[in-house]
């Protein structure tokens, strides 16, 4: 990796400037290396997930897919607790999406459309969360969650995941609503819509794709979170918490199967939101 970084700045590159085709070759070689660097570990964990017991201990290994089968994966899914953990992960992530949009989008709308006292204080609160190790602050929640009956439930996990996703949702929706001219809304008021109707009929349809992207980010944040999910659950574990717990005693091919299942949705989600990725992070990092 460091070689590609060095290539960029070395005199070799300046020489290559004179030769557009040579420079192009260098650029694509570097990119090919980077693409391989990202994809190869995913490919290898997939081989491990579908290779089963024998595949894991084969020596020396071949990088080509030989005798792969779904048997290994279905065996993993059939282990007691795995399916339940998968379900819990989906429930927690789904609830995180609902909460972070339901709480974040109104705040984003308020920041985009109104000037009000305390606006900056609110923005500071939202930004402040980023300087804290949020998941680790879930430690004392164990006690209060037990008292409230939220301990060991996907609902409880989703609450702490919403703390992670909410600041993000508020900032992204703010810029989303700022991008929609307020004149549209005002026109709707003129035609007799109430504020609420104008929002539902005019603004919401325009904001929907961006809101969907925000929702997907919230989902991924929750789906991937390990620490808080692990300390807030015992029996109703999410998939990450379950995998972390069995890490030491489970055979390698089960670990790879678990890792592969964790990776799949992320790949698809990043593909789905790729057009929003930079807009979203451009804003969220301000």
């Amino acid at each position: 990796m460091t070689t590609t970084a060095a290539d960029l700045t070395s005199p070799a590159k300046n020489r290559a400037m004179a030769l557009p085709s040579a420079r192009r070759l260098l650029l694509w070689t570097g990119l090919a290396v980077l693409i391989a660097w990202v994809l190869v570990p995913i490919y290898l964990v997939a081989l491990g997930a579908f290779g089963g017991r024998l595949g894991v201990f084969r020596w020396p290994k071949s990088i080509w897919p030989t005798d792969l089968s779904f048997a290994a994966m279905s065996q993993f899914l059939a282990i007691e607790g795995v399916f339940n953990a998968l379900l819990n992960s989906l429930i927690a992530a789904g609830l995180t999406v609902v909460f972070s949009i339901a709480l974040g989008a109104p705040a984003g709308y308020a920041l985009a459309r109104y000037t009000f006292r305390g606006q900056n204080a609110y923005r500071l609160l939202v930004l402040l969360t980023r300087a804290f190790p949020l998941a680790i602050l879930a430690l004392p929640l164990t006690v209060s969650f037990i008292r409230l009956g939220l301990y060991d439930t996907p609902f409880g996990v989703s609450l702490i995941h919403t703390v992670l996703a909410l600041p993000f949702a508020a900032l992204v929706t703010q810029s989303l609503f700022m991008g929609i001219p307020r004149e549209y809304e005002e026109a709707a008021w003129v035609f007799g819509c109430t504020r609420f109707q104008a929002f539902i009929k005019v603004i919401l349809p325009l904001a929907l794709p961006g809101l969907a992207a925000t929702a997907i980010f919230a989902f991924v944040i929750s789906w991937n979170e390990v620490f808080a999910a692990s300390i807030l659950t015992v029996r109703e574990r999410t998939l990450t918490a379950y995998l972390l717990r069995i890490l030491a005693e489970s055979p390698l091919h089960y670990r790879f199967a678990g890792g592969f299942i964790l990776i799949i949705p992320s790949v698809l989600f990043i593909f789905a939101v790729r057009r929003y990725l930079f807009a979203v992070w451009g804003i969220a990092s301000k």
Partner: protein, 283 residues
């Protein structure tokens, strides 16, 4: 922006304020409180037990070492990636998608992916064996090979979390007007000069947020380390987890949490100060 202030914006932000107060500010105070209370009254007993633990010094050292190695490498790698990607016209979207895939991958999954590569009968050893460099399976991730284990964790962290830096930097690069670099080129500035004198200074706000985000997360590092090395490589968040879950000692776990928090806040303060941008320096 309308001038009149009504109750509406307050009603809109209230739910999120209440939520953050209940699940961010309250646990924050609770953590600090829990860490300084042992038995009756206030004491530093939890901190004493934390510092007296066998793994403590090692966990502090490991976490700092990992952060100091990983975060700068990530910034350099992400800058290189961003520079390369911005030079593309064809296939840009596809390349960007692939490079940002790890953004959505959990640290646990990343650790497991690299475990597939680096385990005893894994692909690295198979490749080394094929090249005739080793005779049979070699362990890289055990207690006997702390240096190799450290590099394995660095690789997995680089693989997983460089994407977030890349995305923030590309978002930042898009805000820099092209005219600046063009003007510099006319005056004969070489690519390296343009990069250090124009791109980097104007990228400062993005660098700052990327660094804050990554550093705070790097001090929380946990699942990657566990997936690769189990408890062979103690880190701060891992120790907090062990004290909470295995030892059921919430006080010491809270002391670890306060320590991680203090380090994160200190790092953030340093970045805010060192990389501050005055408004007039913005394009």
């Amino acid at each position: 922006m309308p001038a009149r202030t009504s109750w509406i914006p307050y009603a809109l932000i209230a739910p999120s304020v209440i939520f953050l107060a209940a699940l961010f500010l309250v646990p924050l105070v609770q953590t600090v409180w829990l860490s300084v209370s042992a038995g009756e009254g206030l004491s530093l007993e939890n901190y004493r037990r934390m510092a007296g633990d066998l793994n403590f010094a090692l966990a502090v050292k490991n976490t700092f070492l990992l952060t100091l190695v990983v975060v700068p490498l990530q910034v350099v790698l992400a800058l290189a990636m961003a520079t390369m990607v911005t030079k593309l016209d064809k296939g840009r979207d596809l390349v960007l998608w692939v490079l940002t895939i790890p953004l959505g991958i959990s640290d646990l999954a990343a650790g497991l992916a690299w475990l597939a590569l680096l385990q005893n009968t894994g692909y690295l050893n198979s490749a080394l064996y094929a090249l005739g460099l080793i005779q049979g399976p070699v362990g890289w991730l055990s207690q006997e090979t702390p240096v190799a284990l450290f590099f394995a964790i660095v690789l997995a962290e680089l693989w997983r979390a460089t994407a977030i830096v890349l995305v923030i930097l590309i978002a930042g690069l898009q805000l820099i007007p092209k005219e600046f670099a063009e003007a510099a080129e006319i005056f004969g500035a070489r690519p390296w000069t343009r990069f250090t004198r124009i791109t980097l200074p104007l990228l400062k706000p993005s660098l700052q947020s990327a660094l804050i985000l990554r550093t705070v997360l790097a001090f929380e590092v946990f699942a990657v380390v566990y997936a690769l090395g189990g408890r062979n490589f103690p880190v701060l968040a891992g120790e907090a987890y062990v004290w909470q879950n295995d030892n059921q000692n919430y006080g010491v776990a809270a002391a670890y949490a306060v320590l991680i928090m203090a380090i994160s806040l200190a790092a953030t303060a340093v970045y805010l100060r060192v990389l501050r941008t005055r408004p007039e320096q913005l394009p």
